[in-house]
Amino acid sequence: MSTFQIDFGGGVPASKIVGIDLGTTNSLVAVMDLTGPRILSGIVPSVVSVTDSGEVVAGSEAREMLLTHPERSVYSVKRLMGRGVDDIQEELKLFPFRVAPDKGVLKLEIGGKTMTPPEVSAHVLLKLKRDAEEALGAPVTQAVITVPAYFNDAQRQATKDAGRIAGLEVLRLVNEPTAAALAYGLDKRKQGVVAVYDLGGGTFDISILRLHDGIFEVMATNGDTHLGGDDIDNLLLRVALEDIQTEWGEDISSKPDAVQILRRAVIKAKEELSFVPQAAIDFSYGGRRYQREIPLDVYNKLIEPIVERTLGPCRECIKDAKVKVEDIDEVVLVGGSTRIPLVRSAVERLFRAKPHTELNPDEVVALGAAVQAGILSGDVQDQLLLDVTPLSLGIETMGGLVSKLIHRNSTIPASATEQFTTAVDGQRNVLIHVLQGERELVKDCRSLARFDLKDIAPQPAGAARIEVRFLIDANGILSVTAADLRTGKEHSVEVKPSYGLTDQQVEAMILESFDKAEDDFKERQVREARVEADTILSATDKARKNHEALATLSEEERAAIDRAVNELLVVYHCDDHLLIRAKIDQLNEATQRLAETIMNTAVAGMLRGTKL
């Protein structure tokens, strides 16, 4: 009933959707204001700890605990999102993750608790949610969360699960480089080709976009979900540990607290080297001190192989976007690691352009997430993001080969249909194995899920016709539906995600929030509903005084309005906002024609006015 609202004013502001950058090292939350996106509170380190009393804390507090109680703390958990026990062996060599000896789903041991990576992330999200609620003075229940563009289906699903566990409805997952482009793109440039180079704490993405009249169309994306500042830290850490062993004659790598203190000293030196030509690792432990000066050129030599690893995906991306380097108008740098001078010069050399760095590379992704939140809420008009799927989707066929159904860099949502039949007489089910990746062999691609098409009516081999539809939604997440073409009946599809949690598991993990924000939220919804009821009741009152318009209604129409008003008044003081809203809708509907009539008369009057 928009006409009514235009006429009499008084719409109810919807609760804010926040934009969250859930990073490997740090996380941030932002919101869209009338003037643009705005960071809501300080940086929240993506660290989670369990205190001696068994309380789970996240953020700065947890980062301090990482130094004092490394065995009760966990960091860089983003590296484990959507992954299985088998495929994190490399990470385990570099990070002090303590994997619980559970079979199946990957769980971590943290201070006597076991948590899946999505649960750990959920604690970071919960901290962000509370910070945002405090800053906004209102409950926050809906969010846009960013993910690396190169995240696969399982990693995306795990991120969405984390949101749900934290009590957030994740309205959209947005790719980090695309979010950055949104933040930069605000009224900046109408047309052009932009490359976004995003080197964060643990992930690397490169995306190439075409901008035209508010549409941000991603042409291609590439990356590495296990490449980032973490790798530089680990490299420096290894060098320092060896150095200390030589100097002190003692291997301290088995002492978690020592390693964490050294890690922080190493990071400090790394950060300094982005601004000065020489920095020192300064480390004290057990009454001893270790100091090592690192000149910039030595540092550059050390990290060159890591920086080099980002260039291959960049070249691939340029090729896939079907553009030439000289077609790229602008390059945007995102992520804390792009402060490193060697990274900047490598990007400059490859793209032959001076990169943009106006926005804080730590904040730009969260700001972009807030812009996307604004697009979803309708606050931001005229802008639209058309993103792509980073990896090809296929199914296993004969001989361990993968048949591609949706190619990488296809604009999402994207879909594909494939027909399946039976191989044996009377066969009752068909097993389908879905994979993601670019290689030709099943063993080189990533297993996403196995689907069992069940309850196929017994018939001769090859007679069944089952059409399976694979759909990648705007979050880059796959869903599957199947239909029997002979009967037209929807088919049951049972999904067994290869890595990930079932809906029931996620449900069971939802953090029981004894937070008063929840109660506040309910109260607020009721309050909002009543405000809306007031608005429409007074508008109806006013409209009913317009006798001319009222006369155009039939007896029944007038009776319907009376009834709807009375029913709304009856439920007005109950504390069920849904019931109040239902009655508001009913009144809205009953008064629709009356509003239209008044509106038309008003417009007609205005038109007459202009003519005279």
């Binding site: 809420s377 309708g378 296809s410």
Partner: protein
């Protein structure tokens, strides 16, 4: 034809790319799921389904080759499975030449080889197939227009022949380029 319907255009082989793009962006603005995040579940699903098909349609129709393949498939003319006989010789020769190059251990991906001159036969092959692909594109262009004007099935058959040939030329080109690694822009 579903993809043409999704974009609300007549099924034609020759399409004005700019007009197609414009149409795609207009419909995207109208139907993208972002516009329905506060709508009912059924409306959200509808928007999702509609944009998925819209994206599939635009992806298929914007490239002349995939467009023609789709058009033929929908007209009941599937691609032929056998390589065009006149290209067989070409394929054997190229494979032999590539084998020979690999035999000498030359590779553009190796740092030292990158400094050596690129084998001339590769450059020649790349030029040749590039020219063949350009010719195919021109032929398709002409046939598209012919077909749209007269709507004859014979034109579609002819297009199929060209597409079959193109597929193999494209494979030859891919092999050469793999060897050349031409896209590495140093």
């Amino acid at each position: 034809m579903k993809y043409y319907e999704a974009l609300g255009i007549e099924p034609r082989l020759a399409l004005d790319l700019d007009a197609l793009k414009k149409r795609f962006y207009e419909l995207s603005r109208e139907w993208h799921p972002d516009r329905f995040s506060r709508a009912s579940a059924s409306e959200q699903q509808k928007a999702l389904d509609k944009t998925a098909v819209l994206n599939d349609a635009f992806r298929t129709l914007k490239e002349p080759v995939s467009r023609a393949e789709y058009f033929l498939e929908e007209s009941g003319i599937p691609p032929s499975k056998n390589p065009p006989p006149e290209l067989l010789e070409e394929m054997f020769e190229l494979n032999e030449a590539l084998e020979e190059l690999r035999g000498t251990g030359f590779s553009l991906s190796s740092e030292s080889d990158r400094l050596k001159p690129v084998p001339p036969q590769l450059i020649e092959a790349q030029k040749k197939y590039g020219k063949m692909l350009d010719e195919v594109a021109e032929q398709l262009d002409t046939l598209f227009k012919q077909h749209d004007e007269h709507r004859e099935r014979a034109a579609l058959q002819e297009i199929r022949g060209i597409l079959d040939r193109r597929r193999y030329v494209a494979n030859l080109m891919r092999d050469v380029e793999k060897e050349l690694n031409v896209h590495v822009s140093n």
